[in-house]
């Protein structure tokens, strides 16, 4: 596994807003089919790192590679746009606040990009939508509008929308943080299902239990650096760093309240 060429390769990622350094020289290699969780306190840079992978938050230094393609290439504006739009088709992303398109039905949300970008016919796109919705258990809501769905349902549709582009890797940016506690499980189940299908996933999360049960590797970030990384059993049960221990202790305490 270790000599396999990394699927997602972040090399010396740096990001600063003026004098404020959000990411300080972070490198991360993710193999095909691997599931990596990024945990850490808010402001640690974990979301920024995730959003750098599809260049939504461009890095100020360092490189991001997906297989043999550099994502954050320096190109003239037009060429860069063409390049990034192509690359992004391979990188699915799920947001904390779902970001479903409120003016389109569930079907419309899912078929919009595949029809426009992959030239699918209406019939093909519909079949694709049905297939993806079935996977997330939302097929019966295909003609609903987002406003008619619960948070958990919205997030499952958002996942289906990302999957419909047949991405090579999925990024989850606190996908369950905005959900009521009783709705978290249905989204976690969908993510577990993806894990079983060996989807490559990078997950920014506050759900330690979920990270422990699903992920192959956990990164603990604080103040723009990776403090500690390793298998979940080590990070959660037996962390080396004081900062990790502190964070986990605080997190457990606040979860029990």
């Amino acid at each position: 596994m270790s000599d396999e060429k990394p699927f997602v390769d972040i090399r010396h990622a740096q990001k600063s807003y003026g004098a404020l350094e959000v990411l300080k020289d972070i490198s991360l290699k993710v193999n095909r089919g691997e599931i990596v969780a990024i945990i850490g306190p808010s402001g640690s840079g974990k979301s920024t790192l995730l959003r750098a992978i599809n260049d939504l938050d461009p890095l100020t230094g360092g490189e991001v590679w997906l297989e043999d393609t550099q994502v954050n290439k320096t190109l003239p504006h037009r060429q860069y746009e063409k390049h990034i739009n192509q690359v992004r088709q391979d990188i699915g992303m799920v947001f904390q606040h779902f970001n479903l398109f409120p003016h389109l039905t569930v079907r419309g949300n899912i078929t919009l990009a595949p029809r426009m970008l992959k030239g699918l016919s209406e019939e093909e796109a519909n079949r694709l939508a049905e297939e993806q919705l079935d996977k997330v258990g939302m097929l019966e809501r295909i003609d609903y509008y987002p406003s008619q769905l619960s948070g958990g349902q919205k997030q499952r549709v958002a996942i289906a929308r990302a999957l419909a582009m047949k991405p090579k890797v999925m990024l989850f940016d606190e996908a369950t943080s905005a959900l009521d506690p009783e709705l978290v499980e249905e989204v976690n189940l969908v993510m577990k299902k993806l894990a079983e299908e060996h989807m490559t996933m990078i997950i920014v999360t506050h759900e330690m239990g979920f990270a422990e049960s699903v992920c192959d590797r956990v990164l603990f970030m604080d103040q723009g650096v990776v403090v500690e990384e390793g298998p979940p059993s080590v990070i959660f049960r037996n962390p080396e760093s004081e900062r990790t221990k502190n964070f986990l202790r605080k997190h457990l305490a606040s979860n029990k309240e």
């Binding site: 746009e81 739009n85 919009l112 990009a113 426009m116 970008l117």
Partner: protein, 215 residues
């Protein structure tokens, strides 16, 4: 109040009301064109265009519409722009209301949540595709009511073109006052007709707004 006189002359006012309606429609169309271009300029990636858009809005909103009309109609011939009164009225008022519509349209566009753009871009959609399929359809719904407010102001603003002698509702009232010496009755007829036009327009806007609302 001389109701008999009012009943006698009102058909002439109806004719004038059609001129006001025609002016309003043409002005609205030109205003929407100017407003769309203005908003596009103000939201452009290019600094030059953003400045041009901002200059347009601040010049128009910083000077009286009447002065703008006078510059165009009386000052125009001096720099080679020959327009008849009606043309000058439509262009002057249209460019004027376009500045206000620029801000309305821009406001509706920037009100759309950034997450919408991020979601679309993440799927691989281009800036233009994102704008056309995700941002604009949502912004259109937001701008219906405020554009209705702009149109309401514009309809009342058409009274200004009486000053460059376009024979519309206000000018017609002034003309009949010259022969009847009854300003109260004459202006009252004009006022009532304006009210009807505005009422109908308002209902149309409300209907559009209801229809466009997202479930």
């Amino acid at each position: 109040m001389d109701v008999e006189l009012m009943l006698k002359v009102y058909p002439f006012f109806i004719k004038a009301a059609w001129v006001t309606i025609e002016l309003s429609i043409l002005t609205t169309i030109l205003g929407l064109i100017c407003g769309s271009l203005g908003a596009a300029a103000r939201l452009s990636r290019l600094k030059v265009l953003r400045y041009v858009g901002a200059a347009y809005v601040s010049f128009i909103r910083g000077t009286p519409a009447l002065i703008q009309l006078f510059i165009l109609y009386f000052g125009g011939p001096q720099i080679g722009i020959q327009l008849d009164a009606f043309e000058a009225g439509v262009i002057g008022l249209g460019v004027n209301i376009g500045a206000y519509m620029t801000e309305t349209i821009r406001g509706a566009i920037i009100a759309i949540d950034k997450g919408q753009v991020e979601a679309a871009r993440t799927l691989g959609m281009s800036r233009l595709q994102t704008f056309r399929k995700v941002v604009l359809p949502q912004a259109m719904r937001l701008m219906i009511r405020p554009l209705g407010v702009n149109i309401n102001a514009l309809i009342k603003g058409t009274a200004l073109v009486a000053a460059i002698s376009v024979v519309e509702l206000t000018y017609t009232a002034q003309r009949y006052i010259g022969s009847t010496y009854k300003p109260f009755e004459m202006f009252l007829i004009s006022g009532l007709l304006y009210m009807i036009i505005i009422y109908v327009t308002g209902r149309a806007v409300a209907w559009l707004d209801r229809r466009a609302r997202i479930v």
